[in-house]
């Protein structure tokens, strides 16, 4: 396992407050709409449909009425040590050293799906079908994001085109820094309860850098060493325990 020194430089990351997330799915719709994600006729086939951001419902397993359920939105974790990047044979996916985000070059991808096998979060989706925008729905497609063809893998890019947009604007105004609010992915912008915060994890001016120090913050499958840049917050012990695999008696409740 490689460990990278990411103490300096920009590292875009996300903090999702699960106590605020109500599972409404607006982020999923916003993401799909922003990124020209194709919609199958049968979207209930969750093993084949494309959703860069997927919401899981996790429950504490207790019976009625002690049941508790929490929604967990899962975008690409944009790992600092991504399992998917080194495995790609055609260099179709790459971690941007300047932002820490993991990109996917659709026109380069040969569709071997090795990266999907590598990703424990199932954050990558393969185009099993031709993209479908039937009945004139191709009219709502955004030119900022290219639609993908059948046979390639696609994934969340932290709305990279929005970063480009923000950079272009900053450049035009003669600035080098991008403020916290200037670049946020579509899901963050859309969240009606403001459960998602986005920014540069290394920048103390950005809210996220403080949030990830919360005793309630955690990441998914931290033990694997993937170093995800998507953090979660939850005050519920069982939710934090559910984020990773623990042996009997191993989970220590931090707060």
């Amino acid at each position: 396992m490689k460990s990278k020194d990411n103490a300096t430089g920009t590292r875009y990351g996300m903090v999702v407050d699960l106590d605020k997330c109500i599972g409404c799915g607006v982020c999923v719709v916003a993401c799909s709409s922003e990124n020209n994600v194709s919609v199958l006729y049968d979207e209930s086939d969750k093993t084949r449909n494309i959703s860069w951001l997927k919401i899981y419902r996790i429950t504490n397993g207790k019976g009625f009425p002690e049941t508790e359920a929490v929604y967990l939105p899962r975008p690409c974790m944009q790992c600092d040590n991504p399992p998917c990047v080194p495995v790609c044979p055609a260099t179709a996916t790459r971690q941007d050293p300047n932002t820490g985000t993991v990109s996917q070059i659709y026109t380069r991808c040969i569709g071997c799906r090795y990266c999907m096998a590598a990703c424990p979060y199932h954050a990558r989706d393969f185009n099993w079908y031709d993209p479908s925008f039937p009945n004139g729905m191709d009219r709502y497609l955004s030119p900022e994001v290219s639609p993908r063809m059948r046979g390639v893998v696609e994934k969340c890019t932290f709305c990279h085109h929005r970063l480009m947009r923000a950079k272009a604007k900053a450049y035009a105004e003669g600035r080098r820094d991008i403020a916290q609010d200037e670049y946020i992915p579509a899901c963050v912008e859309a969240c009606p309860t403001k459960a998602i915060t986005f920014g540069d994890l290394n920048n103390p001016k950005h809210e996220v850098s403080a949030l990830i120090k919360s005793p309630y913050s955690f990441r998914l499958l931290e033990r694997l060493g993937t170093e995800p840049k998507v953090y979660y917050l939850s005050t519920k012990d069982w939710v934090r325990r559910m984020a990773d695999n623990y042996l009997e008696g191993e989970f220590i409740d931090r707060p």
Binding site: P83, A90, A117, D125, M242
Partner: protein
């Protein structure tokens, strides 16, 4: 009809019989071609693979074919590289099977590459692996090596093809074939080098997946252990598979094609390699169960859920690992032909099972605690490609056997009565 093509000094069945035999396999090939066409035309939705099962039957078949095809490089290695010195007493035995091993290797690798071509979502971009190579990917290494090695196998196959009676009459072919044959050791060496790496990289492909605790086997030197396990297991299975193929060919033709002690030699090599492999594999499993698994916060049994239960690993290591190893290394058992064949077969099944488990189990196990355990069953299109490649293999092998002097010992072991110039239905006769 095709008498002129049949090698000297051997007898072959009638063209009619051969055709009806071939048709059986052509049907499988057609099934495979139809499947491949559907996959190219409509995409990979023709399979039952999905986001969870990113790899399916085809990768299992690929891994298995490449493992079983290892007989080619390993026999070549034994024959041409160290055969001259260390294995001198067995030189003839090895020479007797090396052609068959090369043909089997060629079949396995060409089928595997064809299958990979179908398996990728963008077949017309397959060459991007070479063009935009990411050298840090095990899959890149695999692709480079198996492609190059297929080239080597083709070169090794060429002298045999060119020794076809008809082709031999063309002086250019004859001389070219002979020249190639002279330097076959070079290609055997290159093949050995390439095979060593891609067999290992195939294992490494899974061993480096640190996001998948089932497959992840890092910690040995700079590589994952599976790198060496795969090499080890493939050279254990390769000779056994060559043995099996020749044995089946003997049964099918009703002729003895190699001497009995050749079988014993192959069995011995295979058996000892399997035995040592089993030790390594068990060590690996224990090391994994007490290292990787608890580090990931999981317990051994978390990885085995119906239908991919713990029986799989029992079958792989116990039934199809230790038992064939014992059979093949014990001279008493190995001398009995049926046990020998069963041992070789179990050996092969064990390795295939290993490749299956490594591929499917890795993907079936949810890593996120709240995710689901998945199962998968291939569609007829996937089976079509798989069976098509089997049909292709048998057809190529049969054609090679029929028209090429694949088994140098055959004429000796099956002397043909000289009947003058009379040509019978039963095949060609020795003319000289």
């Amino acid at each position: 009809m095709d008498l002129a093509l049949i090698p000297n000094g051997v007898q072959r069945c009638s063209l009619k019989t051969f055709t009806s035999w071939a048709v059986l396999w052509i049907v499988l090939i057609v099934w495979g071609l139809v499947s491949a066409f559907l996959v190219f035309w409509k995409g990979l939705n023709q399979t039952n693979m999905n986001h969870y099962f990113a790899f399916g039957l085809w990768i299992v078949f690929d891994l298995s074919l490449i493992a079983l095809g290892a007989g080619a490089f390993f026999t070549g290695f034994l024959t041409h590289i160290i055969g001259g010195i260390f294995l001198y007493p067995f030189r003839d035995n090895l020479r007797a099977v090396v052609n068959a091993a090369v043909v089997i290797g060629f079949i396995c690798y060409s089928a595997a590459i064809a299958m990979l071509g179908v398996d990728i979502g963008q077949p017309i971009r397959g060459w991007f692996i070479f063009w935009h190579a990411n050298v840090h990917s095990m899959l890149t290494e695999v692709s480079f090596c198996i492609t190059a090695y297929l080239g080597v196998l083709t070169i090794e196959y060429l002298p045999l093809i060119l020794s076809n009676r008809k082709l031999k009459q063309v002086p250019e072919f004859n001389i070219f074939g002979n020249t190639l044959h002279h330097i076959v050791a070079l290609f055997a060496a290159v093949g050995t080098f390439l095979s060593f790496f891609h067999q290992g990289s195939l294992g490494g492909m899974f061993g480096v997946l640190f996001g998948r605790p089932f497959a992840f086997r890092e910690g040995f030197f700079i590589w994952p252990w599976t790198f060496f396990l795969f090499i080890h297991s493939s050279i254990a299975a390769g000779p056994a598979f060559t043995l099996l193929c020749i044995w089946v060919a003997q049964k099918a033709t009703g002729k003895q094609l190699v001497t009995r002690d050749t079988f014993t030699l192959l069995a011995k090599i295979s058996g000892w390699l399997l035995a040592t492999y089993m030790i390594a594999k068990i060590a690996d499993t224990i090391g994994w169960a007490y290292g990787v698994v608890p580090r990931a916060g999981l317990s051994f049994m978390d990885f085995f859920q119906a239908p991919y239960g713990v029986w799989l690993i029992i079958a792989e290591i116990g039934i199809f690992g230790i038992i064939p190893a014992i059979i093949l290394i014990t001279p008493k058992y190995r001398e009995r032909e049926n046990l020998l064949v069963i041992g070789a077969l179990m050996n092969v099944i064990g390795i295939v099972l290993n490749r299956f488990i490594v591929t499917i189990q890795t993907l079936a196990i949810p890593v996120m605690p709240f995710d689901r355990f998945m199962t998968y069953f291939p569609t007829w299109q996937e089976w079509g490609i798989a069976f098509g490649s089997i049909g292709y293999g048998i057809l190529i092998f049969s054609l090679s056997y029929r028209y090429l002097p694949m088994f140098p010992q055959e004429p000796e072991l099956n002397p043909v009565e000289v009947l003058g110039t009379v040509v019978t239905d039963s095949g060609a006769i020795k003319r000289s």
